[in-house]
Symmetry: C2
Amino acid sequence: MDIPKVIREMALEAKQAARPLGNLSRGVKDQVLLRMAQLLQERQAAIQAENAKDVDQAKAEGHPAAFIDRLTLSDKVMNSMVTALEEVAALPDPVGEVVKMWRRPNGLLVGRVRIPLGVIGFIYESRPNVTVDAAALCLKSGNSVILKGGKEALHSNLALAKLMQDALGEYNIPAGAAQVIPSVAREATLELLKQDELVDLIIPRGGEGLIRFVAENSRIPVLKHYKGVCHIFVDDGADPDLAETVCFNAKVQRPGVCNSMETMLVHEKIAPELLPRMHARFREAGVELRGCPLTQKFDPQVKPAQEEDWGYEFLDLILAVKVVPDLDAALTHIAQYSSNHTEAIITRDYDRAQRFLQEADSSVVLVNASTRFNDGGELGLGAEIGISTSKLHAFGPMSLEELTTTKFIVYGSGQIRT
Amino acid sequence: MDIPKVIREMALEAKQAARPLGNLSRGVKDQVLLRMAQLLQERQAAIQAENAKDVDQAKAEGHPAAFIDRLTLSDKVMNSMVTALEEVAALPDPVGEVVKMWRRPNGLLVGRVRIPLGVIGFIYESRPNVTVDAAALCLKSGNSVILKGGKEALHSNLALAKLMQDALGEYNIPAGAAQVIPSVAREATLELLKQDELVDLIIPRGGEGLIRFVAENSRIPVLKHYKGVCHIFVDDGADPDLAETVCFNAKVQRPGVCNSMETMLVHEKIAPELLPRMHARFREAGVELRGCPLTQKFDPQVKPAQEEDWGYEFLDLILAVKVVPDLDAALTHIAQYSSNHTEAIITRDYDRAQRFLQEADSSVVLVNASTRFNDGGELGLGAEIGISTSKLHAFGPMSLEELTTTKFIVYGSGQIRT
């Protein structure tokens, strides 16, 4: 395969498809999404047969069970894809929304209207169901998408691409609207990252290695999410039961994801009462605790934390614990070690709650709720294509609106500048 | 001067200033802006004396009169800086605005709140008044700014920097909030563009050469504006007087700027009536006309247009003219040659007006009004720091809102994920 030629042609097709795609009515877009859902059900066996090739290969290569599990398009996963398509179809269309409109003194009527970004390159790892989820969000927001999935999922992704293209074809939408790169070579990714004349945005989703590779090699703007080092600060006077419930949920409910808690900061006045009972519950759940010297004073069983434990994304049943003298110290620790992802405060104090919301510089900041709520679905955006931890264009969970921009439209009656 | 060290330290100071700056109340920010305006008046003679050093040097180097004019801080320009500061002080504070807020079924109250971007690097050419205008917009939007002006304006810019730092100091705002790079070396620009850990956004403003240099060398996201190739399509049935007035204004009122018209597209049915009278008026104003073969048929005096005239930014009294069979042909021409800056249609047809607004893929699209209205002040944004012709983060004129992003705040009462 002549990879540079193939990628260039795919990017050209995506660009050409973007113009008609941006002008599609909501009705047509929703019908295509629902047709994809229908085809997923009709072709379930055939898609699972393609997926089985990937799974067999991955097993032969000795990948761990968790990896195989994520790669497998089980009946349950197939159903979740159908549901996801139906949910995206049910979401409002962001394109064409008039965000604001105002009249100028000279009579001009000026509006800001949502439009698609154009062409999106989406680069991700293993889970093949993400192929359909991401394509659905791009289609609904009027963007063409070029998908580059994990090398272990190629058969699955190509079968899903065929299905999507068939649905698009039934509605006379160009095939360039949603394409899967038919190569697993790293060269294909590199070529895609060079198409800055044709591709408007790159969204990588996967481990830190993938994201750094994309960010370092891209000539196209990248919306990235490096890691989630989420903190919870338990304030003096916090409700101990609420603090325990929320912190336990944030650490233990799903420790391997980016919005789980990695460091707990505890006010020194509440630490003597709170730390022993919380630590007992954490230990029961198999959590390894690493504490500062003051933490060790209140709980001598805690391992000493090393400097590198602060700001570390464990993605595991490990928690760093630090006792701090006050809110200022907590905010200073967060400013130094945070990844700008998610921070929470547990408090009953009005002023400190408001200050924490204002001053913690992360994409989602919560009072008395689990960090696990940093998620497009949980926050009410309907779905998400990723979470941005940098501030340009989007900050936090990215859903349909974040896949658009606005242009200005102006209704005049002969106005000129003087 | 150890340029890498100086730039690194400036970026660190800017980053450290960003946290307190982001939490300043509107009242304090406005007082600082008004104090700067006051100091500009008090120190007018001293600043003009520093400016005279730059002007003398530029004259000695044989720069053209237009360049000297742009470099000179005349009384009129000094007054315009005072007015600009007062106007920015009068604009609403974007920081802290709750853009939306909603309640989730589990009781969480979720809001999106505007926050500053952080640290902005602003790289620009000659005009020293831009130093204060840009710093005012950054300060009001809660961002630290590092300014790198043109090499011919260093004395002026350093005098203005001293003034701004004095005003900041009176209100105990760290000096890192607004700094001017004390070097004219290109190396200083290159060092600034490497500070991707400390600087969040680069905005270049100047000629295409400067902007390409910045875009190619930056590790930091760049909001850029390459050029303005603005089209006006005069539709069949347009009011001839309105068409003539608007097209004349768009080309002639200030031909050297990005929002002036470069190509006029005329419907073939109206061309025989319209072209001779419009061309006569253009010629009277000294405009050189370059037309397609059909244009030449209706006006034999027109020079033939070459392929490179389509999509060319003349920035001068030159106009490319093309006769097209219909709106579709006009939109296709625009899609091929536009710079995504500004397009206008002159029409009396409702459907074609609406279609043009939807389908022309530029940052500002107008009906029956001059392209010259693509400007932050004219559209009602209050002021502008530049115009973005790419879609990420901002598209079109950038004012205070475009110098911010939003974060999510969440008011909970013990919610956890299950």
